[in-house]
Symmetry: C2
Subunit: 343 residues, 2 copies
Amino acid sequence: MSRADRYLRACRKESVDCTPVWIMRQAGRYLEEYRALRAKYSFIETCKTPELAVEITLQPIRRFELDAAIIFADILLPLEKMGIDFEFTKDDGPQINNTVRTWGDVEKMRVMNPMEEMSYLMDAIRMVKRELGGKIPLIGFSGAPFTLASYITEGGGSRNYVFTKSMMYQEPDTWRLLMEKLTDMVIVYLNDQIRAGVQAVQVFDSWVGCLSPADYREFVLPYQKRLMESLDKSAPHIHFAFGASHLLPMVKAAGGDVVGLDWRTDIDEAWKTLNYEPAVQGNLDPVALYGSQDYIMGRVKDILDRVANRNGHIFNLGHGILPTAPPDNVKYMIDLVHELSRR
Amino acid sequence: MSRADRYLRACRKESVDCTPVWIMRQAGRYLEEYRALRAKYSFIETCKTPELAVEITLQPIRRFELDAAIIFADILLPLEKMGIDFEFTKDDGPQINNTVRTWGDVEKMRVMNPMEEMSYLMDAIRMVKRELGGKIPLIGFSGAPFTLASYITEGGGSRNYVFTKSMMYQEPDTWRLLMEKLTDMVIVYLNDQIRAGVQAVQVFDSWVGCLSPADYREFVLPYQKRLMESLDKSAPHIHFAFGASHLLPMVKAAGGDVVGLDWRTDIDEAWKTLNYEPAVQGNLDPVALYGSQDYIMGRVKDILDRVANRNGHIFNLGHGILPTAPPDNVKYMIDLVHELSRR
């Protein structure tokens, strides 16, 4: 079986020759070739120049035996064309200059046409596809409506989500309008990526773990469910809610062919909670890559032992790889997953 | 039944006339009388001057019908006498100037005698006790060994805990020595607070939620268990692990007469997971206080309905109250808990 099939077969819970592996944020700062490019170009330039985005997308594929590529982009990019003014600070943290906190702010948000207004991304997808020549599948992605909403209400990252939750609790109609608009956008955005050529799409709900079950049920689930149901069925959908082990049954209810798991739940327990219905992706702690190779071996084995070669497991970290992770340990982990899971 | 009994009876799962309530960080920045004091004194001065610590401890008790007071202090204070050099930045976030990352760093940490070296805190406890005159019980507290370890390895707050986990994964012997020393210290520190007069003690494991179950089991549980078992049994022990719904069975195994719950798990589900053995404290999202009174009413009712007046519930927020929380809503919530839970 070639790397062309392994990942997509696992997304569909079909048998594979060994467990496929990719890494969230695999194209990024932990690679010196990425840092070399970033010495010459700003983060936003690398995102918006197709040749650079293509190069960065391919960097980890050249180094490692990864089973999927993921297009290089940022989850905030589509917001720009909706009228959100943001920039990336020196450590690449996003800062939004016109926060969205009132009904009027939400009404002003534009409807965006990704195929035309984000042609740089669609071009990059087409170019990566040509480069990969069918040998490795390409994943597209978007932020989930809640995570995008939290960024633009808070003005960036947040610890307590006071503005986001205050909108829910004080102005639920404003919240609903915001979520409707973001959901509409994400549906078109991901379907356009599929039309441009990506073979799977991942929805990142990076900050939804701050919510109680009751709040998720009321303020997120209806939108996330509509989103997952509206995506083109020709490409598998990965639903990754970070820090959300307490929300797992509702993440399942929202949908996704594959559910992404962080490291906070043992993968066998989590998969059981999901009734083994979706495939699962995960779930090594990104900081495990800082351990000794003995430690990494122990953690990788533990995950694979818990999965016991059940069909439908994609190995990944439980969150994006960190900028100071040692590339040698990344290679060690990837090769180990393939070796230890060989059927 | 007076406020003198309600809280301590609930800690012991005895019957009460209505559900007792207190608020984590109830003495703090959301109160204008606290901010007025802080305009004149630095945070560290307020902690180390018994008269000021007493005044701040009593401020929320004067305003609200709270069922317990908690001594005003900071979890980093005992580290000072162990040789850790820290300061509080303008937003009161801690910054440690001599991080602890090697065997040598850990070896250098001093054994501290809280009764003598933190006499300012012991004096404040005795003075608050006199002021309260037996009408309201006083809670003492400490950071848990893991949370203290993470502060001093990282140098402050952290998002990814790379240094903390790297020590676990690369230098487990160093980690064990660090945890042993901190555990020894916390045992003496809390037992000395009990000797000085506090009637209950809470252990805050604020950052332990970053760990996988396997890491908690190996690197935290043995120390946390020894700590909880070594505390003077004359005062109930509250064990609060924030963001740790995925670790709840092990939090229970570590021990505690009362287990604190954040808002990420419905309180009835969480209590069931705990086999209804410990009492529980929680679990309103602190941001709920920013909602309309209708919203607050709904959330308070939901928690009380789920508990259904089972003995052993102490109402609280699921984390410290936030500096911009509206005091009117705090009063509304406290009175509502008493009113709706009246037996």
